[in-house]
């Protein structure tokens, strides 16, 4: 603990969002600093690196208007913390926790560091409880459970926004316990913001939103999800709520990470993304979970837009290695007019096994899901054959499987804007399998 506040006017260089400060007497890694610009603005920053009297600071907010002569930096002797308390519910903030909804800032009950400590693996309990999203393809075939992290892999031009919006409106617990949504938008356009804003207005006190707009400072894109997850952990593990965190879009997050990394002159990895991106993403995704003896949970649904529709691009690739499955949207289904265009074949929920069946969803769930998946996979394989030899050259059973696949897409995958509960989803599955009982065993 330092007795006096340290102030410096020894800025030697400013490079992108980074600021270099000379002859610093004492500084801590990750220490929060306040920066006064010559024109009287106040910004915050964080200490990234300290060497021989020189300190490297990452500035949250734009560095426009900063100079090397008049800019003042004061050290706070504390790491960055998020304000927490009941007042956070129902509010919209920007990427630095400033209110965006024209209401005054709430009065924090206490503060916690935004860089969360890792959950002790032996304190975790295995996720098993079902969360109903209202989408048949997710609830029926790729079931989401409390404490899971399940990303949505989308491509430019696919209706990820509509799906996210519906998730915000529709997601709920089957037993209706205390439930909150934390919505994090990174690099959102104003057009999209207006769209989501209408949804948020209808949600009353069930949500907290952190909005970083496309023209907001890039560094805040790295901060916003950490603030949001700190809030989510507090809601879950102190206030005992089940919290669903929706982050859109992680591609913007990773691009911001690359931008800062380049400014720091770090060695670029695949496609210019930094080599520590896996660990960085894990520090966000791994904050999802459940803890022994505590009621709440943090569940994570990040959206990832795959650049060039490429699932092997570093962003979806590293995400897939950390998360427990993925929901993949398909351009082909979108062109067939199917909504939501979820391609169930590459989609997967790794934690589904324990979250379905008697006591969770319905006794016949597992069997129905397996049969649907098997028959549809076979049908899709046969489509290639059909393209070569034509329908007439195929065995009767194979022709039936082709019909099944078409009907599966039209009846089960396609549901328009309608919400389906788990019973409705499984009833549709049952009806479809009954109709094709000869081939869909």
């Amino acid at each position: 603990m330092r007795l006096a506040e340290h102030q410096y006017r020894s800025v030697s260089a400013i490079r992108g969002p980074l600021l270099f400060l000379e002859r610093v007497f004492a500084a801590r890694l990750g220490e929060l600093v306040r920066i006064e610009t010559p024109d009287g603005r106040s910004l915050t920053g964080e200490v990234l690196k300290i060497s021989a009297g020189q300190v490297l600071i990452q500035v949250f907010g734009g560095t426009q208007g900063l100079d090397t002569r008049h800019t003042t930096v004061s050290f706070s002797d504390a790491v960055m913390q998020a304000p927490l308390g009941d007042g956070v519910l129902g509010r919209i903030f920007d990427g630095s926790f400033r209110p965006l909804d024209d209401l005054p800032m709430f009065i924090p009950e206490f503060r916690m560091p935004v860089i969360g400590a890792p959950i002790n693996p032996v304190a975790r309990t295995h996720p098993v409880e079902f969360i109903e999203t209202g989408f048949s393809t997710i609830d029926g075939l790729n079931t989401l459970v409390k404490g899971q992290k399940l990303p949505i892999f989308t491509c430019a031009g696919l209706p990820a926004r509509e799906i996210t919006d519906q998730l915000l409106r529709q997601a709920r617990l089957p037993d209706g316990g205390p439930f909150a949504l934390v919505f994090v938008a990174l690099g959102l356009t104003h057009f999209e913001y207006q769209f989501y804003r209408q949804t948020l207005e209808h949600m009353q006190n069930r949500f907290v939103a952190f909005i970083n707009l496309a023209d907001d400072p890039v560094v805040e894109r790295l901060l916003a999800p950490r603030l949001a997850l700190t809030v989510a952990e507090d809601l879950a593990f102190r206030q005992e709520m089940d919290v669903l965190v929706i982050i859109t879009d992680m591609t913007n997050y990773c691009d911001a990470l690359r931008e800062i990394s380049t400014a720091r002159e770090e060695l670029p990895g695949r496609r210019g993304y930094p080599g520590h991106m896996y660990s960085d993403l894990a520090s966000l995704y791994e904050r999802a979970g459940r803890i022994h003896g505590r009621k709440g949970s943090v569940t994570l649904l990040p959206t990832v837009t795959m650049p060039e529709d490429d699932i092997t691009h570093p962003i979806p690739d590293l995400t897939g290695y950390i998360t427990e499955g993925q929901i993949v949207l398909s351009r082909e289904l979108q062109q067939k007019g199917i909504y939501p265009p979820v391609d169930v074949l590459p989609s997967l929920s790794r934690l589904m096994q324990h979250g379905i069946g008697k006591g969770q969803t319905r006794k016949d769930h597992r069997d129905l899901a397996n049969r649907l998946y098997r028959a549809y996979a076979k049908g899709c394989d046969l489509r290639r054959l059909e393209a070569v030899v034509g329908r007439d050259g195929m065995l009767a059973d194979d022709r039936q499987l082709l019909d099944f696949s078409t009907r599966f897409e039209a009846d089960f995958v396609h549901q328009g804007k309608q919400r389906r509960n788990i019973d409705e989803t499984l009833d549709i599955a049952q009806a479809l399998l009954d109709e094709f009982r000869e081939v869909a065993r």
Binding site: V24, A26, A27, R28, L29, G30, L48, K49, I50, S51, V79, I115, G116, A117, P118, I119, N120, P121, V122, A123, R124, T125, H126, P127, G147, Q148, L267, G269, R270, G275, H276, Y278, S279, A282, S283, Y285, E286, G289, H292, T312, H313, P314, D317, G320, Y321, I322, E324, Q326, L345, P346, L348, R350, A377, R384, L385, V388, V389, G393, M394, L395
Partner: protein, 541 residues
């Protein structure tokens, strides 16, 4: 002697402290964070800190632990769950609650637990380094106490033993405890390395039948995400016919570790009928735990594995995943501003990796027994592209490759082991053993490969002319191959099917071939395939 922190860049910290050696453990800052010296430059030492060091300030005190990073070896490791620095996670839980705080350093072994110590040695016996001076019963195994010192036994305190008290005394007053410490990065010595000879039964039909592993052998399991690496590793951890399993979750998911711990706590070891956890050591350094500790975790784990090998036991080491270890190495190397090699990995990746993998093998131990250490290592190639440096570096030293295929996984064919690209260099040796169990093993194995290969070729034809256009003989072959794939090679890890003994494996396969041969003979006799299949379907089972 005290020094101080001079610069901080992430987990890489420079300290001003004299008389340090490379590899020395130091305690950094007022929280006494554990670090390891990785570079020396005059008085300034570069230290890799193993714990979250946010909040660490310039000028904070640094002390030397006067020795390298070590693990503590003794009875009570089995059933333990540790982090990458061998700190028991249950003690961290007591220390800092559900979230791990930095700066804790609990002793990994339980010093208050009472063991029954017995010995066949007597006062006056000459003891060499690494020799047994007694044993305790740890679960189902005889835990041999190995002497870290040489000398003449003066006294043995048999009977009730607690680790804080000496178990024996050497002439000259050197006490022998039930435990000793060993440097993490130094392979434990042995008398002689032997050729692996005995098969390691995994209970996976595809592996035991087509790509067998030997005790003391090394297999790597590369696969993109969603191809089932973790499930395969965990299934093998449950059923493999070894005495001790060391499982390292290196930079992987926390929920997966929770699942494993829950499950292993409940399941029973099919061989000893005792809880599975009693033969297992888990090292869990999940992806959000500090990167440097992830790098050290596989060394911590393999040293514990070697310790049990030195008691003459068969030990299986499973790591999930080695790529995360390599990435940790890359992050550390980048922070040290070393010249990067391929894909940004340091150029010493290959040598570091082979040094690690060579710690596997069958050995004649210093106490004259024979023990084995086998490894099954998962690799997570970026974009499922196997040309990347980690997979390639592993391939140079591994004896078996179990390649997991994204296409098979999408079809829910699990385990998604690609049968054309996987291989086992241990096959010939293993076959010598398996042929004793079933004389036809080698012939059937060749037959299986042949059928699967011909199916591939036929499928291409079928895609052009349709199944209708194939001859009956070819259609029969397609049908048999499909049965082999779906009934035999696919194996459900979540049901009773998860384990198959080699006897049942070979019977199962022989039955499939018998049926094929019978139908083929009938076709030769002029019968039509559709009639034969209809007959088979109508026949009562």
């Amino acid at each position: 002697m005290n020094g101080q922190v001079t610069s901080i860049s992430g987990a890489t910290v420079c300290v001003d402290l004299a008389d340090l050696k490379i590899g020395d453990r130091v305690l950094v800052g007022s929280n006494r964070l554990t670090g390891e010296v990785v570079r020396l430059d005059g008085r300034i030492a570069t230290v890799q800190v193993f714990e979250e060091n946010r909040g660490l300030g310039i000028g904070e005190a640094v002390t030397s632990a006067k020795g390298p990073l070590t693990v503590h070896l003794g009875p009570g490791l089995l059933g333990g769950i540790f982090d990458g620095l061998q700190r028991p996670l249950s003690l961290l839980l007591e220390g800092s609650g559900d979230f791990i705080a930095s700066g804790q350093d609990p002793f990994p072994l339980d010093c208050t637990r009472t063991w029954t110590f017995s010995s066949e040695r007597q006062a006056g016996d000459q003891i060499r380094v690494g020799e047994t001076f007694g044993k305790v019963k740890e679960g189902h195994i005889d835990h041999l106490l190995l002497s870290p010192h040489a000398g003449v036994l003066e006294q043995l305190y048999t009977g009730k033993l607690q680790l804080e008290h000496p178990a024996a005394m050497l002439a000259g007053g050197q006490p022998l405890h039930g435990w000793h410490s060993w440097p993490v990065r130094k392979a434990r010595p042995y008398r002689q390395k032997l050729q692996p000879a005995a098969p390691l039964i995994t209970g996976q039909r595809c592996l035991d039948f087509l790509f067998p592993l030997l005790k003391g052998g090394v297999a790597i399991v590369p696969g993109g995400f969603g191809t089932g690496k973790t499930v395969l590793e965990q299934t093998i951890a449950k059923f493999a016919d070894v005495d001790v399993v060391v499982y390292v979750g290196c930079g992987e998911r926390g929920n997966e570790m929770a699942g494993l711990l829950d499950e292993f706590g409940e399941l029973e070891d099919p061989r000893s009928k005792r809880p599975l956890m009693e033969r297992t050591i888990v090292v869990a350094n999940t992806s959000n735990m500090p990167v440097a500790a992830r790098e050290s975790s596989i060394f911590t784990a393999v040293t514990m594995a070697e310790y049990y090998r030195d008691m003459g036991l068969d030990v299986l080491f499973l790591a999930d995943s080695l790529s995360r270890w390599a990435e940790a190495l890359r992050e550390i190397s980048a922070a040290l501003e070393e010249m990067p090699g391929e894909d940004g990995y340091p150029t010493y990746l290959g040598s570091r990796l082979s040094g690690f993998i060579e710690r596997a093998g069958v050995v004649k131990t210093l106490s004259a027994g024979q023990g084995s250490l086998s490894m099954i290592l998962a690799v997570s190639p970026p974009g499922a592209d196997f040309a990347e440096p980690v997979t390639q570096a592993c391939l140079r030293v591994a004896g078996a490759l179990y390649m997991l295929d994204t296409q098979l996984a999408h079809r829910r064919h699990f385990p998604a082991i690609n049968w054309t690209q996987s291989f086992s260099l241990y096959s010939d040796t293993a076959l010598a053993h398996f042929t004793e169990r079933h004389a036809e093993w080698a012939k059937l194995q060749a037959h299986c490969r042949d059928l699967l290969q011909r199916e591939d070729a036929l499928r291409e034809v079928a895609e052009v002319v349709g199944m209708e256009g194939l001859q009956d003989g070819d259609r029969l072959l397609m049908r048999t191959a499909e049965k082999i794939r779906l009934d035999f090679l696919c194996q459900n890890s979540f049901t009773d099917d998860a384990y198959t003994s080699p006897e049942s494996t070979i019977e199962h396969f022989a039955a499939l071939i018998d049926e094929h041969d019978r139908l083929a003979a009938a076709l030769d006799g002029g019968a039509l395939l559709d009639d034969l299949l209809k007959e088979a379907a109508d026949a009562p089972r």
